[in-house]
Symmetry: C2
Subunit: 227 residues, 2 copies
């Protein structure tokens, strides 16, 4: 990032007349994209463990050292791929805004979309959650923003389902519902567990949402004690 910023500021400072030196900036951007594409392919083929510096360089047609000209390290590349994956997921979940279905139906549609995306992009999707930054560093802010947009997708129909719920509580509930769906999808596709048929997983996901939405819209704490 630091290098990128330097290159950009150089090109900006150079007189606007012609673009002499931001050709290199464009090349760097190209290389970033080619490396990210190679990384995506590597993850899709063999998971996070399949991302190797030398393979990426070969696929992108550059020297191994060139990776470190455009990325801080492989972690940053993987984070960038993760952001792309999140963006594609968000796009895949985008509501067809010409009709406004029942909020509970919309929640089910989102859950099914999430499952469908995870199925269709299993390795890339899993990489989102398997990846740990070296040394326990915190994820950058732009990455957290990308994630929170997903929760926002859930929040909208939730607001229509529970109009009397305070907004902060609704935001938490959106994350909780997202998490619950994620759990079912995650363990449902986990091959370290006994495998489930596709239809069974579909049905179980629907059962979760039915019960959850049903439990939310009826009286609270039906048979549960408070503490």
């Amino acid at each position: 990032m630091n290098d990128v910023q330097k290159a950009e500021s150089n090109s900006v400072e150079r007189h606007a007349g012609k673009p002499p030196a931001d050709k290199t900036a464009a090349r760097r951007a190209d290389l970033r994209e080619r490396l990210a594409a190679a990384g995506r392919a590597a993850i899709a083929e063999g998971g996070l463990q399949n991302v190797k510096a030398r393979d990426l360089a070969a696929a992108a047609g550059c020297a191994v050292g060139a990776i470190y000209n455009v990325f801080e390290d492989l972690d940053e590349l993987i984070l960038r791929i993760g952001a792309d994956t999140l963006a594609r997921l968000e796009q895949g979940l985008a509501a067809p805004h010409d009709v406004a279905p029942e909020p509970a139906e919309e929640l089910l549609r989102l859950a099914r979309g999430y499952l469908a995306f995870a199925r269709a992009n299993k390795a890339l999707w899993r990489a989102l959650f398997e990846h740990r930054l070296a040394g326990g560093r915190a994820a950058p802010a732009w990455y957290l923003d990308d994630q929170s947009r997903l929760f926002a997708l859930v929040e909208a129909p939730l607001a229509r389902l529970l109009p009397d719920e305070p907004a902060p509580s609704r935001a938490l509930l959106a994350r909780t519902l997202f998490s619950a769906v994620h759990g079912v999808v995650s363990l449902g596709l986990e091959e370290k567990l006994a495998p489930m048929s596709e239809a069974t997983l579909d049905a179980e996901l629907e059962r979760l949402l039915r019960a959850f939405a049903g439990g939310l819209t009826t009286a609270d704490g039906v048979t549960l004690s408070s503490s």
Copy 2:
């Protein structure tokens, strides 16, 4: 420490009845346990990535090569540690069988126990789900058995909550409920997401269970279409 342990195990086995060749078997078992303990410590300290053959050997007081005398590879060691973690989790969730609470309360107790275990053993617990076997091999059967015992813990109260539910459907529901709770705990403790306070996560987990159990025990599909 390593010399002491070795000496002790030798002296214990010395002239015990007539076990000629299973002294070595005992030493192998000892080494397995010492290596597993070292691996547990390594994971607890720095996650799965912190498990290094040379460090394990140093901690267990053996040569690097000795690891491969008692384990196929590090994957098998990690699987063994995972089985231990599952066993400790199962033990931590064991019901206090002197009282028989409401089934919904029991489910909440299990969910809270799961969250408590995950909090208290974050790295080890996460290792259960992060770990992938090299080359996409399938987990051994004994490992799957250990997992299915967890689902069984959920199934018992579920059977009392939904006595009319067919048994196969109940088994699936147990896994689904477990998965949903796992999702909330998993993303709730995920530091790549915006962090949640402990109390908030506790409350959200309870909200999930209240809504889910409530939705299960009231009429099905309250506001959800079937599609």
